[in-house]
Amino acid sequence: MRSLMTGAVVAGTPLLYATLAEVIGQRAGVVNLGLEGVMLVGAVTGFVTTVLTGSATAGVLAAALAGALLNALFAWLVVDRRANQLATGLALMFAGVGLSALLGASYVGRPITGLVELPVPGLARLPVVGPALFSHDALVYAAVPIALLMHWGLFSTRWGLAVRAVGENPVAAFAAGRNPRVVQYQALLLAGALGGIAGADLSIGVAKTWAEWMTAGRGFIAVALVIFARWQPRRAIAGAALFGGAISLQLLLQTRGIPISPFILDMLPYVLSLAVLAAWGGTGRRAAPASLGRVFQGSQ
């Protein structure tokens, strides 16, 4: 149980950051299928910075910056150049794969200390939940508060209202005095930073190594988790925990010698996601931002 919870937290944290990144972008009406590439660039930038400076904190900041920069390029393409979001996103993904491999080529196999675990005094001693929840690195501790903060920001602040308005109906938002271009840029820069952090969590938090394409599809899982979370940051916590838990559970079941094929166990996270989606039923008409994926043609 302890092992399962620890594993769920560790495997779920990068997914949570990535899902939050996609949520904020999609709330502003932009689908970014390039999240995988953003994560990879974040992962490599974070790792290289950590190697060069010896500071994991600098690594995380650099990863956030790199992710935001890459998403700024994406924003320029889809917001200013009005390029198709899906095609641009896929191109961004492949560009991110190549760029990260190039940047990281001479850093594969370099040892780093990475993010260190900071057990919470007192709480870490609690049985079961102590090691599972209170003996992690700073990025793990920050993930859930950031999700809650984002939830509050989206649903209880004027800026959040503007983001949601742009995602629902940019023309109306424009008429109400909000510039959709500015709002989408803000949302995508924030998304890029979060995506970069998601990557850094993998390279300097979980695995403490850099390898080409080490995100292994997590960027796409996050895009699916957005739908699962119904575009709500709070629900993203549950989604990431469930998916991370399923990954952890399937590995744990194998160590216990459960007589189920490893191939079937490997499908477990995906099967579980399908089961939950089926149980929750349709996404509901009002869940997805109405103008998601549409290009705002301006107001001329």
Binding site: T6, G7, V10, G109, K208, M214, R218, S248
Partner: protein, 357 residues
């Protein structure tokens, strides 16, 4: 008049070309890697082999490309290497086999050497090294070192060669410590460091105090073990031990340098022929890493003695009677499971916790 002058100039230029152009290398070797050549694992072992070949044969030129996807990209790259003059191509991943076969059929003058394959052509040789003996010896060392009698293995996929390695490891461990249990986790992929870290942590949480690894890069698992104060066993590349200065037990690594030198020489002097090369600890294709500080001298001596027996044929890693982990008899008493049949080993031996498929 003008035209004539131009022709003269051109002719002179043409004559000068051989003088100005750099000397043609005697042989150009093309090598494709599936991953990065500094992964401290599978790919680095091949890359170091090429480095050794270059040192042995400075007249040979190398075209080396990393991170080549298996499939059409590999095929195109091999064709382009041939256009650039490569006469020996090493597609250094199992998954390059089909593209390599197609390119080899189209280019009968170019020689190919493919690792771990099961198909050959007159101009495509296959090579690998048999690892179960080495895993058996690693198992002996680990079996002596473990205190919890639980050993964890993080393995990419349940394919027969890997199952054979795990089985040999467990049998070696049991030979010195009948209580040892090896728990296997399959990650389903050769490269997902974050998942490898989670799997390694799960094994350690289950009480394992030794971790082994069969994925492309052993770094993550070896590092995780070291951080948690556990021991580790490496694979593929000798350099892995730098990630576990305290907990390192030993490892087995491929050393392709002499073989690649041989291939290059054979292509240059025209004696290359298609073979099924299977090296072992007895030749120069496979080495055991030095023992780490965790291994006491008497254990090292014990392992050394068994190694001599294995080399002399006095011992065999798969000696019957052997049962699989569901209780079915797989090797009868007095018989051995031939090392040439490893492709058929689709079971895990008694004492291994894990599902072979």
């Amino acid at each position: 008049m003008k035209a004539r002058a131009l022709v003269t100039v051109l002719l002179v230029a043409l004559l000068l070309v051989p003088v100005l152009a750099p000397a043609q290398p005697k042989l150009i070797v093309g090598i494709l890697h599936i991953g990065s050549t500094n992964d401290a694992g599978y790919n680095q072992a091949h890359a170091e082999g090429i480095q050794v070949m270059k040192r042995n044969l400075p007249e040979v030129e190398v075209i080396e490309v990393e991170n080549v996807p298996e499939g059409a990209d590999a095929e195109r790259l091999m064709e382009s290497m041939i256009k650039r003059g490569a006469r020996l191509i090493i597609p250094a991943s199992f998954g390059y086999l089909e593209p390599a076969l197609r390119v080899a059929q189209r280019n009968p003058d170019v020689k190919f050497a493919h690792p771990g394959g099961y198909k050959r052509l007159p101009n495509l040789t296959t090579y690998w090294a048999s690892t179960p003996e080495a895993f058996y010896l690693l198992g002996m060392a680990a079996g002596k070192v473990t205190k919890t009698n639980k050993i964890g293995y993080v393995v990419a996929l349940p394919i027969s060669f890997f199952l054979a390695n795990i089985n040999a490891f467990e049998l070696g461990a049991r030979a010195v410590n009948p209580q040892v249990e090896t728990r296997v986790v399959f990650t389903g992929t050769f490269l997902d460091p974050a998942k490898e870290a989670t799997a390694a942590a799960a094994l350690l949480d289950q009480g394992a105090d030794v971790l082994g690894v069969i994925v492309d890069s052993p770094i993550t698992v070896v590092q995780t073990a070291e951080k948690r104060g556990a021991y580790s066993v490496g694979y593929h590349y000798l350099g892995a031990q730098t990630f576990a200065p305290k907990g390192w037990i030993s490892g087995v690594a491929f050393t392709w340098g002499n073989l690649y030198t041989r291939f290059a020489r054979q292509v240059m002097d025209g004696t290359f022929k298609s073979e099924n090369i299977l090296g072992s600890l007895n030749d120069d294709l496979l080495v055991m890493a030095p023992f780490g500080p965790a291994v006491p001298p008497d254990t090292a001596a014990l392992v050394g003695a068994r190694r001599k027996d294995l080399a002399a044929g006095k011992a065999h890693p798969f000696t019957g009677p052997l049962k699989d982990n569901t209780g079915v008899e797989r090797v009868k008493a007095g018989e051995v499971f031939p090392l040439t049949d490893l492709g058929k080993m689709n079971w895990l031996v008694e004492g291994v916790v894990g599902q072979p498929r």
